[in-house]
Subunit: 757 residues, 2 copies
Amino acid sequence: MKNYLKHHPWHIIEEGFHREFHEVSESICSLGNGRFGLRGNFEEDYSGKSLRGSYFAGVYYPDLTRVGWWKNGYPEYFAKVLNSVNWIGVRIFIDGEALDLDKTQVSNFVRTLDMEQGLLTRSFDLNPPSGGQLTFHFERFCSMADPDAAAIRISIKSEGYQGKITLEPYLDFDVHNKDSNYGDQFWDRVNEEQDDSFSMVSAITKKTAFTVSSFMHSKVEVNGHQVSIASSSVAPMKVSRLYKVDLKKGEELILHKTVVNLSSLYVHPDHQTEEGKKKLGENEVIGYATMKRDHIEAWHKIWDGADIIIDGNVMAQQGIRFNIFQLWQTYTGADARLNIGPKGFTGEKYGGSTYWDTEAYCIPFYLGTADAAIARNLLVYRYLHLQKAIENAAKLGFKDGAALYPMVTINGEECHNEWEITFEEIHRNGAMVYAIYDYIKYTGDTSYLTDGGLEVMIGVARFWSQRVNYSQDKQAWVMLGVTGPNEYENNVNNNWYTNYLARWCMQYAIEQIEWVKQNHPDKWTRIKQTSEFKEEEIGHWQERINGMYFPWDESRKVYLQQDGFLDKDLMHADDLPASERPINQKWSWDRILRSCFIKQADVLQGMYFFEDHFDEDTHRRHFDFYEPMTVHESSLSPCVHAILASRLGKPEKANEMYLRTSRLDLDDYNNDTEDGLHITSMAGSWMSVVRGFAGMQVKDGLLHLAPVLPAGWEGFSFKIHYRERSLGVTVTGGHCDVTLHSGQPLEIVVNNERRQL
Amino acid sequence: MKNYLKHHPWHIIEEGFHREFHEVSESICSLGNGRFGLRGNFEEDYSGKSLRGSYFAGVYYPDLTRVGWWKNGYPEYFAKVLNSVNWIGVRIFIDGEALDLDKTQVSNFVRTLDMEQGLLTRSFDLNPPSGGQLTFHFERFCSMADPDAAAIRISIKSEGYQGKITLEPYLDFDVHNKDSNYGDQFWDRVNEEQDDSFSMVSAITKKTAFTVSSFMHSKVEVNGHQVSIASSSVAPMKVSRLYKVDLKKGEELILHKTVVNLSSLYVHPDHQTEEGKKKLGENEVIGYATMKRDHIEAWHKIWDGADIIIDGNVMAQQGIRFNIFQLWQTYTGADARLNIGPKGFTGEKYGGSTYWDTEAYCIPFYLGTADAAIARNLLVYRYLHLQKAIENAAKLGFKDGAALYPMVTINGEECHNEWEITFEEIHRNGAMVYAIYDYIKYTGDTSYLTDGGLEVMIGVARFWSQRVNYSQDKQAWVMLGVTGPNEYENNVNNNWYTNYLARWCMQYAIEQIEWVKQNHPDKWTRIKQTSEFKEEEIGHWQERINGMYFPWDESRKVYLQQDGFLDKDLMHADDLPASERPINQKWSWDRILRSCFIKQADVLQGMYFFEDHFDEDTHRRHFDFYEPMTVHESSLSPCVHAILASRLGKPEKANEMYLRTSRLDLDDYNNDTEDGLHITSMAGSWMSVVRGFAGMQVKDGLLHLAPVLPAGWEGFSFKIHYRERSLGVTVTGGHCDVTLHSGQPLEIVVNNERRQL
């Protein structure tokens, strides 16, 4: 755990350059606008440890799979989000010497991520050997108002310094992925162009043929007087221009670099040059100040709907805003072809593809903070991949339209290559259906059922019905060889969570088929045809629903995580010496597997999903049995436990879990923030507050709140979108005010009492 | 299954060049002499599909581990036997055109592996465009009489042809492993030398610094008249010399190439050049014919002790000789630093390291066919690695001198990198002790106990005592998270075989400690000290022995392969459609894992190891339950089943299994002979005959035989070494003759009747 960043309600502040944590800071200071983004790299040269990263949504490369021992069924490739053009680059020379903070001594270094305005700024002082002082100030943003645009402003002010400053803004597309399996370069050169008014560089991905073009315009002024370009250079995949300035004492040199980034997801490659020049010209007319104002205004609108205000605890406040900020930078919901990668635009790990995190964690966040269309786009993303999911299941021997959604994907095809995950962590398939259920429950909008949802449900139900087998020994339907959400168990039999989810999926599919039959018979005719549904399937599913096996301990009255769980040496995680934690870094894999320790909520994930199915005693027994064995070594773990703990009246545990989830990256709990941020689990932080502390739920079509105030908080407030309304919720000690900001009157339930809004 | 080789009792014959199976033929025609060996590659150029392979015993390279997802505890590298110098190379040009059987049309092609004499020969006719005919004859051997020497003879006879023949014998060390993880070249150049009397090339392995030098002498004659060298060339890692001959009609051109290969395991790098020149000179004096005679004589001696003669079934005869031949080529028992890699000198797959195959399969073979010193050397090999096994266990969290032998190794360090094997297939650890037990039982020689054996036993017993844990639920000691010999199950609980072997290891260790205490108290004092043994350890082991859990099905009265086995859909392998077999090529891994299908003997491996522990009914019940579910997709599977089947009076099954094990590579049952031969399982073929059909066992210090004659055999006979005696066993219909060829008189038991020899 690191603690070098200042606590502040709106800003992340690094005072003094922490070279040793620079890659962590680069991750934390990532910027994005849903369409492209980049790590908090320096504009100028930096020769120290750094992961340069610039990414475009939906632009990927199928990197040939690398494994030690091939297993039949492994995918051919891992689709990776690509490191792409470095569009922020500006080389800076002072009296011919390159500015490089790994070597150049500077003072008063401050790096600030302003989350309210979406700005990354940096300033420091430098005393050149020739005398005097230079004060640097950097500012940049990826425009939330114009998703193709970004801009940088660099100011260099002389305080008694006189000498030669050279600036070289550039675009560089000669970029490699650090995580390339075989050291391949994923980009082929397309072209470069440059004249006095613009520079551009364009490249195309190998195999997938995505074209990305980056355009820049730069302007340098000294005390308001424009400096002309001294020279320019065009090399393969790189363009740059040079400004030479004789800076005098007291003068201020300002560089504006405005950038347009276009990818072929949005602009056809043939039109990118024309479009890029046009947009660059328009932005030049608008000017940096206006671009910035529009960008801040866009953020203002987001915050207006999505902010959570926490009174009396600046750590908690900073944490939650950081999570909300990064989520919105990653995904704005505008495009159903996109999804939320586990690292967003902040790193390369996990390939940048989509996991079940989206369904279990992100959809509730977008449901609560934005128009329902955004969450619906995330559902449609999976509907668009249904055919691939059916093909994926067929590769594993399933038939008749059974669908298995991949563990990791960008384009619907499975990318993962560990058998115990790829083939066995199949509970993800249930999350696809749960997300539809969650969406309908929250929005009341059933139209998605007949617009694709039911076909997804049928494919998933078919998978489960084939994946179980009848045990003569148990006289019940069992599910062998799975990995649950707790990935510290592999290839187990009858994982309770998976069995429970599977049964629920079949049951829910039957119910929804009946509902559609009744209410939209014409649509059912079409769905039945497209999915080649046979009425007898219902009977098969019902047989499995009725006879599904669930491991159970009669003495403790708890469901067992899997068969044989009680054979383990049952211990509490607190009894492990600190020197052995995290166990995933200290223990060999076999030892982890045979231990009782739980990586993330497993049985409790089911209790969380299906809260209404169990009474409070049951919840409490399971929480008290499993949570003490849980090591929370997945970023997805603390939030679920925070929610359950706050509902069970365990405020200390809830608060501990909340801080761990919301400040996971800021405090680098797991020592891995340098690889990038844990984007998807950030949605869990929001859920901890809204579904946890505020106790928000929808039951029988009614919005419920049951707030508790965490220790050390004076109060908290947030807005939620709910069924075309905007509600404001303010919780203080003993009070819960709910305001209807917009939309039709509404009845809600607060602490089991009905209220009219 | 392929069937292109002729059946012959002593020869493997390919008539007509089967280009499509050339890599299979290369594997089958491998030659070796325990110190080096090579695949059956052509001497001349060949541009078709081919795996050039030349290997030196004990010369390895630690190739950096390649995995998809790193697990804590994985070894840093995989030690690989190295593809090394091509010392057979002779380029041949006819009228300037290179001979290349992928392109050059030839007729009357015959390739023959003469197993009796250890010779690989090849002949064919060629009609050059300029007219006439050339008859080629190749012959080569790796000397069994001089483990540093090898020789090649090439004859080209003109029948009406007149023209220019050029011969270019060479040595080439610019060789790469096909299975290199990152495409690295594993050899660094040392030097090359050449003059009229010799050529040499020398290289050193990166990291491990093994030096190998290869020396050649070549002589070309036409009708008995020597041809002088036209030119010679020395390039980095390659030396060659050129002979140009104007061949006239009716003339015969003969090339002799004699080779000396030295590795730094036997000759210090500083002395290799001197030693190589000396040896080359000596062999030159001896001459090709004498070298060949000595080599054949050495093979004659081996066959005299190791041959199995099968009357009335040439397929079975050819199969068993092929197995015996390849085993003796791979390992001659002369050096305790060496062991038997799964592919020997015939390919690169599995890295060329040592698995538990040696203990379970090869030791019985060498015990039966050679002096006990050879099997003892294989035991010593593991004793020399005891410290590494203790370090290996410590890496996985075990302590106090617990030893875990690696799954795969060359130097005692673990090389394997699949968690389910590396960390979990721990039954291998028991095989180390079983081999000691087997050795003592067969030889009656207890001296190895105090020469290292007991320390190995103590280390292994400690491991088992720590690897189990007490299940409060079962009120018994359980072993969680293992992989048994049936690798079609991973991470199972209470694998019966592993639990049984573990308990036996602890029990046997206690007994042997007591015996050594009683009989060699002074040696016990030393062993106790070196192994830091504490008397209370016995109590811990005994507690686990007494309370070990074994999964059992009361209704069928069978031990279960593991917990939950009866939850599977129990089917017979015969009911699988042919299109789905082998399942390891047709099914995804999860489907294999959750199926009931068994890769190789698992419970039955235990029944085989501990035959005396169970009565015949118990054996029969278990065989009848498990064998039908067994797909025999490991080369180690059929032999164990052949033995059990013949003991249970199931001659058809025994014969089916015997043919499958003995002709596995000749008939390419598993479609993988091209990667190299299944060397270690070849010992299983010998066991099928001697321990299976002849029913050889040692019980209470007495040698037992209980022969059955497989259907279609008229009789079979073999010799065995037994307690410094040589016995001949001849089985015909109804009779079993046993002759004492040498050694002291002996009492044995044949079909439960005592006989004096």
